[in-house]
Every structure is written in C-alpha cells, then in structure tokens.
C-alpha cells in the first residue's frame, strides 16, 4: 500500500512536468505578446520589459525559469491583475471555492445516499419512482443550466434569494444546489443499484432468517457493503467540486478562483491561464490519489500492489 502510494505520488511529477511543458509551449504559440496594447510601446521599453521578465532569453531557459519559480510556489505574473501574482490570485479565491465545493459535496452525499437508500428499501413504491425520476433527470442537467432555473424560480419570481454574491447563507443556497445536484443524482442512482444488489445476497437472507431486526440488517449488512461502489462514484466528484466550477461561480457572482479565472480569460491574461492550468492539474491529481488510497482503507479487499 505504501509502496503503491509513493509510486503514484512519484508518477504525478512527470505528468505535471508534461502538463507544464505543453502549457508553456502552447502559451508561446499564442499570437501576440504581453506588451501588446492599443498604443504600441516604444521599442526600447519593450526591450527593457523583455529583459526584466527574462523574455529575451532562449525558450528552454524561459521554461527552466518558469519551472524553478513554480517549484517555489510562484506561478508567475498575471497581466490583468497587476498588483498580484497568479499564486496570490488563486489563494485569494481558493477558500471560497473550496468551501462552496465542500458544501456541495456534503449535499451530494447526504441527498444522494438518502434518496438512493429510500428508493432501494421501498423498491417499486412511489418513493422509489420519484427518486429514480429525480436521479435520471438531474444526472444529465449541467450545473449552470440548473442554476438558471433556480435563479428564475427563487430570485426572479419568488424574490426569496439574492441573485448572487458571497457572505450570507441565502447566497449559498443556489450555488450549492446547482453544483451538488448532479453528483447527488449520480450517487442516488448508484446507491440504489448497489443496495438492491446487496439485498439479494445470501448473507442478507441468512441475517433475515436468523431473525435480526430489519434496522440492524440494513445498517450492518446492507449499507456497509453497498457503500463501496458509491465511494468509487463520489471520489472523483470530490476533486471536481473542491476545485469548483467557474461557470457556476460566474453565474452567481461568487468571488472564487473560477470567477477570477474567467475575468482573466476575458482579458486574455495568459499568465493567469497558464498558472491556473498547472495549479488545477496538480490539485486534481493529488485529490484523486487521496481518494484512491481511501478506497483501500474502506474496503479491506482492495489491495494495491
């Protein structure tokens, strides 16, 4: 297990190197430079700026400099936010994005497990049909489309919730629902299928036959075994949600990493795009590794060699 973890961790390094190299080369293929403005700068100024930021050196040296800085946690300069570097920009939005994602994840777990379990226990009743209906419809509707319907319902029509912003719980409701509904629906689907499969197992019949109370059967025998496939579905969503959705953040004007990023894209801030790509790739790789290792803790049958 430990050897597996270390190997996976080490493997992330070349992958990220690849990602950074591809990003770096792509950025250099972008037409135009950072000093292009409506009014052209004097050639001497451009030359000085290039020297100041090392842009006059050979491209492999520039890549080396970029890597060396990135290793020290400096993801480079942003061209649209001139007072802050890319690292500071990401760090300033990260707590908001991560807490929004964590709430959405919690919602997905609670709602998804609840619905899935209810559906499986009450199979072929209206409860089951309703939750299956919910699961199939919301599993395919993207968060930002759902967000629009929420906006129309709760803000434009009922005037219950503000259209966006960050700070009060009222501003949290819609983005959490928009982000969490899709994973919740998937979780409900898998939970139901997995519970039904476990309910048909011999050991459940044995438990019933020896007269265990239904609650004990459901909890000790069914739920624990049914949860494993659910985890494999929920795991990847952790990375997906904690890193956030810049579309949903833009829709609800949440000042997270995503929205800062969108503003950067709009301003053609290549430095910010490049830093964000690297940051996100690293965060997703590490989170997914953590989730994979968690499986082995939860399910003793899984052994990583």
């Amino acid at each position: 297990m430990w050897r597996y973890a270390v190997r996976r961790l080490l493997w992330i390094i070349p992958v990220l190197l690849g990602v950074s190299l591809v990003t770096f080369l792509l950025m250099h293929a972008v037409p135009g430079g950072p000093w292009d403005q409506e009014k052209p700068l004097a050639p001497q100024v451009v030359q000085n700026l290039n020297r100041r930021y090392g842009l006059d050196r050979p491209i492999w040296q520039q890549y080396g400099m970029f890597l060396a800085r990135a290793l020290r946690g400096d993801l480079g300069v942003s061209y649209s936010y001139q007072d802050r570097g890319v690292t500071q920009i990401i760090l300033s939005g990260l707590p908001i994005t991560a807490s929004l994602g964590a709430l959405a994840f919690a919602f997905a777990v609670v709602a998804g497990l609840g619905l899935g379990m209810a559906a499986a226990i009450k199979q072929n009743t209206p409860v089951d049909y309703l939750s299956v209906l919910f699961a199939t419809s919301f599993a395919s509707i993207p968060g930002f489309v759902l967000g629009i319907f929420l906006l129309i319902l709760f803000s434009a029509t009922l005037h219950w919730l503000p259209t966006g912003g960050w700070g009060s719980w009222k501003q949290l409701v819609m983005p959490v629902l928009a982000l969490g509904a899709l994973p919740a629906a998937y979780t409900a689907r898998i939970t139901r299928a997995s519970m039904l499969e476990v309910l048909n197992q011999d050991y459940v019949r044995t438990a019933r036959a020896k007269g265990l109370p239904e609650v004990a059967i459901q909890y000790r025998h069914v739920l624990k075994n049914a949860l494993i496939p659910v985890l494999t579905v929920l795991g990847p969503y952790l990375a997906f949600l904690v890193t956030g959705s810049f579309i949903v953040e833009s829709l609800f004007s949440v000042p997270g990493v995503g929205r800062l990023f969108v503003q950067g894209v709009f301003a053609r801030d290549y430095g910010l795009i490049m830093g964000s790509v690297l940051f996100y790739a690293a965060a997703i790789a590490l989170l997914n590794l953590a989730v994979d290792l968690l499986y082995a803790v939860v399910d003793p049958r899984i052994k990583y060699a």
Partner: protein, 305 residues
Amino acid sequence: MEVNSQTGGRGRPDAEGGARRPRRSLGQLAVQRLLGNRLALVGGVVVLAFVVLAVLAPVIAPYDPAKQNYLALNEAPSRAHLFGTDNLGRDIFSRLVYGARTSVSVGVITQLIILGIGLPVGAIAALAGRRTDNLLMRLVDVVYAFPDLLLIILLRSIFGGSIYMIFLAIGLAGWSDMARLVRGQVLSLKEREYVLAAVALGAGGREVLGRHLLPNAIGPVVVAVTFGVPRAIFAEAALSYIGVGVRPPTPSWGTMIQDGTLVISAYPHEVVSPALAIALLMLAFTFLGDGLRDALDPRSARAAR
C-alpha cells in the same frame, strides 16, 4: 456497474447468447433491444428532432436569427414571436433553431475528431505493446491530467475565434478518454479464446483486427460517443456563456444564455428557452446512451435493475 465488472467478467457465461445467436445479428439484436426501451426511444426521437431542426434551420426559422428589430425589444412570447424577442429585438425561436445547428455540429464534429485520434492511439498502443504502448499512454496521461475546460480555453486562445477552431479545441482536449477505452477494450479482447483460436487457425493481423477485435470493441465506443456528444455541446455552451466560445452573430445557446442572464429579473423568458433546449438535449442523450449501453451490453442492463 462497478461491482459487476469485478464479479461478472469471466464468471458469467458469455456464451449464453453466443451459442444460439446466428452470425452478424449482434447489431440487429441491439436494435431490437433499443426499440424495446421506451425511454431510449424517446431520447432518440428528441435527438433526431434537434438534428432535423439543425439541418432545416433556414426553412424552419421564421426570421433571420441575426436581424435586430428595435421596434420589438424584449417582447414576451406571442404569435408573431413564438418565444419572444431578446434585448436587441431578435426572434428567440429563430435563434434557438440556428443555435441547434451550432450545438449539433459541435457535438458531431468534436466526436469525429475524438474518434480520429483516440481510436488509432488506443488500438496501436494495445496492439504494439511494450515501448509504443508505454509512450502513447504516458502522452494520454498528460492530456488526461489537464482540466478539460481549461485546456479548451488555452487551445482556443491559440487557435483564434473561428467556430471550427472551437471544434478542434474541444476535440483535442477530449480524446484521451477514448484512447484509454479503446486500449482497454482491445487489450481484453486480444486474450479472448475466439481471438486466440482465429490466430491459431492462421488468421492474419488484418483479419483478426477487422473481423474480431474492432466489431467487438465497437459497442462501448458507440456508448462513449453517445455520452461524449452532450459533453461537447455543454462545453461549447459553457465557453460561449463566459464569452470565449462562438462569436456573435453566430447564434449559440450559450451566448443566448449569457445575453438572457443579464435581464433575467425583468425578462426571464429570454433565458428559459435556451436553458430548456440544453437541458432537453442533454436528457435525451442520456436516455439514448443508457439505452444503447443496455442494448449493446446485456450484462450492464442486468446490473442496473
């Protein structure tokens, strides 16, 4: 699903249908099963309807989608304007119809690009083995590590704003899943008894590939494409929504949503119709994809019960 792939792979008799089934009827059987699945059928019809809408857009749309009419700004739905008009007085129904054209072509063309890269890369990696496999799969790892939408935005800023370049960017960011899927399929099929038997009987590489490997690998690929189309459509809509996708005046559901959210409190109808169109198409593709998966792989149908 997950559980099934662990327990069901070899243990369940694959021969169940194989013995009875006459040759070349796998496709017919799948079509039969698909037609028997009502939800999948509905999904297929809706998808088809959108395709017809896209192809016949000039015939169906009552107005020029780009024509602005300052005497009819933000009009509510009426007989003259079925879904009302937007903030520039453009007919929303006509824009939706032409937007379907953008969405459908995004869906189809990106999947062709993904197939065009992913299929050969996956197949070559699986068949060539060893060093080639290693090299190609490490490349896939790097592409896979990129967050999808960020890579698309990055590629887009290099390729420029033409709509074809958006197709290319979405395709180039999305082929790694396909390559992995095809490689896994070919690797597992390669070891099956009937392939070994064909090789033992002296079948050449081309015959084995064309006769045995590809036809049997095609099912999961078709399913992946069916789920890939809505993902690409969503990516385009999301990009257009944040303003880096399809450029005006080309109508796109994403840009319509962007325009509509600006006036969401006063004129919610402007954002409802494009959001509904996206949701409907996504739902239709999910039903169709689920149905296809069940039809092409009877084992997964049993697990989902």
